[in-house]
Amino acid sequence: MEFKVSLGPQHPALHEPISLRMTLDGEIIRDADLKLGYNHRGIEKLAESRTFIQNLYLTERICGICSFSHQTCFTQGVEKLMELVPAKRGLYIRTLVCELERVHSHLLWLGVAGQEAGFESFFMYTWRDREVVMDILDTISGNRVHYSMNTFGGVRRDIDEIQRKHILDSLDLLKKRTEYYLNLAASEPTFLGRLSGVGKLSKEKAIALCAVGPTLRASGVPMDVRKDDPYAVYDEIPFEVCTADSCDVLGRAVVRVKELLQSYLIIEFLLKNLPAGPIKVKAPRKVKENEVFSRYEAPRGENVHYIKSNGSDKPERLKVRAPTLANYPATIAMLKDGFIADIPLIFAAIDPCICCAERLVQLDNPRSGESKVLTFSQLRQMANQRYKKIHFKNKETLWPF
């Protein structure tokens, strides 16, 4: 007998609102369906009424983890529209923050994977190490989440000798610990047993469904925007594209740990070859009519911004495609014929960032497919009715009512 089960939009196993509707046969998932839009904020529409400088800080707020990815993708696109050549030192610092963000995002993911796999201590370890890189980002930019480092023509803050030394020292520590995790991911039998063979995605399917990032690379496709379409200073940096051919969650974990090690090498290279000079060049305020297609390798995969300008200081159109949206069709393919207990693990393995993938404010009650949908005004009425019953003036009324 087949059951239909809906998971989310609010669910303890998912960290952000998304609705998964699954058709089950016993414990096996026969079909899966996604409903998006619980976190849609209308950023694309909003961007059309803001200037390029304002959009710089708007695009950063598309996501809280890969904030720098979106900002850099937008900045690079607008720089091309402005026909601006950014300052060399600025580009090095920009690339440095890109890689630091990748390190913090991958460490975060490893922790989440550990937690979903039931390996809680792994979660604690990686998140402890993540603080090291968060501190680095804090010393460089002054912020832990939205770094606001980019500006058209370069970056906004320089790094000095003390910061450089601090980063190099911290890297040594991170390197040792990451090597330990790689060893652990490859040898710990319980961890291996939980991750291997889960969420299979064949190479052909991954290509056909246009997956991106570590999800695609773990299926044996060496696609990396940093190599294929180099931006910033990636054409000067020696690094390898990490792949795995196990096509499962374990492969995705291994790819991310290997990418961490590559990122440390890139950061070291950048800091040792940091050119002297200005960190930014002056940028014009207005942008002449043109269009650009900007690509960026975010920690989760290829991030894409399409920007069209119309000669004013505001964009005509900004299209954002975050890596998570590209990975959804592949996720459905991975869930099919899997076990219900593997859902959080498979879903976490694409490193979903729902706020990235969605950009209109809305509210509904999706307890089940056919049950009634509440509009915002109805919800408001319900809340008002509830609060009217409570006598606030009566001092005996205590929280939680």
């Binding site: 294929d228 005509e316 809305q362 509904d364």
Partner: protein, 156 residues
């Protein structure tokens, strides 16, 4: 094969199917096609030149018509295949039969621009709310967000 060679190959191989092909920027190839010939061009790019990855589909409101851009990528270059569809009859063919990963982008276009994607396997709304009024497409230029007047209960 570099981007110039790809431009040469496209212009010699499928000259009759495309309107124009140009190298807009390093690694960015622009191809303009009629909407009737879109599928044939995508098929050619996928099978002959290895552009298997569809990065996204962008819609742009140009007033009289909509421009739909298919951003295809391979490890060699990026091809932006663009078609125009009139505002009076905004239909585009579905590309899911060639690129299965296009489904979410096509559903997004239907929601945001009110384009009608012909032969789409799954036409349900994707991003907009379940009680979103019919016939309102937020990313069209003539659509403006009007914030409903805030009524403060018990207020002035």
């Amino acid at each position: 094969m570099n981007a110039e060679a790809i431009v040469q190959k496209i212009s010699s191989d499928i000259k009759d199917k495309i309107q124009e092909v140009s190298l807009a920027a390093p690694l960015r190839i622009n191809v303009k096609v009629d909407r009737e010939k879109l599928l044939a061009v995508l098929q050619y790019l996928k099978e002959q030149l290895g552009f298997t990855h569809l990065a996204t589909i962008s819609g742009v409101d140009l007033g009289e018509s909509f421009e739909v851009i298919y951003h295809l990528a391979s490890h060699l270059a990026t091809v932006n295949v663009r078609i125009l569809t009139p505002r009076s009859a905004p239909t585009i063919p579905s590309t899911v039969s060639i690129i299965p990963g296009a489904i979410l982008y096509e559903r997004e276009l239907q929601d945001m621009f009110g384009l009608v994607v012909q032969n789409i396997p799954d036409p349900r709304p994707l991003l907009l709310a379940d009680d979103w009024p019919a016939g309102e497409y937020p990313l069209r230029k003539d659509w403006h967000f009007n914030r409903p007047a805030e009524k403060i209960p018990g207020g002035k």
